[in-house]
Amino acid sequence: MANYQIPSWVIFSIFAVLASQYFSGSHSASILNSIAIAALLAGSLRFVMLIGELNFAIAAFVGIGAYSAGVATTMLDISFFLAILTSGVAASLISMVFGSITLRSGGPYFLLIGFAFTEAMRIVYSKTDVLGQTSGMVGIFPPIEFDDWLSLFVIIICLGLLFLMYVIEKSQFGTIFKSIRDNSDVTRTVGINVLYWKVVCFAIASFCAGIAGALQAFVNNVISPGDFGYLLAVFALAYVKVGGESSIAGSILGAIFLVVLSEFALALGAGEHIFYGAAIVIAVLFMREGIVGLVSSTISWITKTRASKEERV
């Protein structure tokens, strides 16, 4: 029976919820929203890493989710909750088609074609009249009664989906995914349909990415094709890498750290790129395990003696 670390999740969730209520002043609430969505994004990217693939198409699916939510709300008058669900489903369905073709190639091909797909979708949005073309789509608002609770809702959804991904990771499905990552040939010999499970993993991650996109649409009220370029995937990558790839906590940590720091980097202009770039390079070269690694090794250093004492009991 896998250990799902329930107590940690509960404590963290309570903390996050309390934070959202305490800091309900507009600006802090916005930062919390950004952090939550960023964490969900990072979690989704990391989820695909479980099968050993780098999902650079994530931005495209975030975009699909966002535009689905936009269309659902402004043109089809679909209710708020249903719109968000639709976005996730839409992204997931399209990802299944895309994935079944491209995951066959895997590796660098999957990576590069994901990149190309992102750019292609961006062009599609910018050429489509009903989607507002390059001026973007406006007026994506949650129902008015929801205004005060939006931040709470965003956090709950993001945490919920992150928890879901965590549970799947720790379950037998996770074992299958990781075995594909480690050696897909061996996995195949055991009778597992590698492509099928790769697509399942991808579809789940894309569902989350689509929801992240929908949430972003409601939080910002305006979306444009430029929001969903490859830079979005780069940021997600930064969150995962800087936070620490080994656990989902890393995705959350990386998101918190970088989103907060970027608030202060706004005034740097082009310097913001240098900042993110340097963060990634440093994290990759010197902090292979990310912030999670740093924290873990510090804590294990502190509790080293106690641990060895307990072991002997």
Binding site: L111, A116, A270, V281
Partner: protein
Amino acid sequence: MELVFQLLITTLQISAVYILFSLGLTLIFGVMQIVNFAHGHYFAISALVVVYLMPWLVEAGFPASAAYILSGLIGIAAAVLVGLATYQFGFRHFQRDMVGSFILSVGFVLLFDGLFLESFGGASRSVPSIVEGTVSVFGAAITGQRLLLCFAAILTAFALYLVLMKSKLGSALRAVSIDQEAAMLQGVPYNKIAFSGFLLAAGLAGIAGALIAPVSIVTPAIGADYIVKGFIAVIIGGLGSIPGAVIGALFVAFVEAFGGYYYGASTATLAIFFLVIAFLLFKPKGLFGNG
């Protein structure tokens, strides 16, 4: 008929730069199994150096062609240097780790983006043509400068081919890209070979950048525009394959020229993406891929 020739000539001249670009990308992948997103920036630094240095040299009294050759050489050197730096401080530790090296290259891309913008400013520049005048080939027009570019690209590709087929370094590079462990068992010094391969690729990007400077709009962001096309070319051709890179580049250029003419530029760009996705259905590893 004249139109078709014009479009064919256009295809050839567009493909010239794409070929040089993708050759470098595919070489690095073949030898080190990594995807280097920052490849575009070796290209960019070379172009930027040429565009800034050449006017300065001309003002100092150098004749145009000498100024161009000198600044071109310095540009290529700059590209190789930047490549060296990224290898030494980064990629060297990530050989055969595709995910890790890609992430690292992404970090470099952001870093260089910001640094280039700060150092060179946002203005667009170009340099005057070295070879003036327009030439007519079968009724199709092409500027002397672009013709030079095509010849240079063909020459470079051919020289690369010779190096790979006839020289000791080339044999080692090929051996490593086919089977790294077997090559090492045969005594091939992997680290040295990887290093040489990487610098060679950066040099190719540098040559491409120096050649493109007189015929293109050079901004600090120029790397990003070409890298997408370069990636598509190597996907089609197959990562690690030299002839594949050439064919892939030609294909991209073909769709851009013919598609762009008949259907408009945006549609052509879109078409390239979706054609490649469809292509992967039949050839998941590209035409000649061994990734």
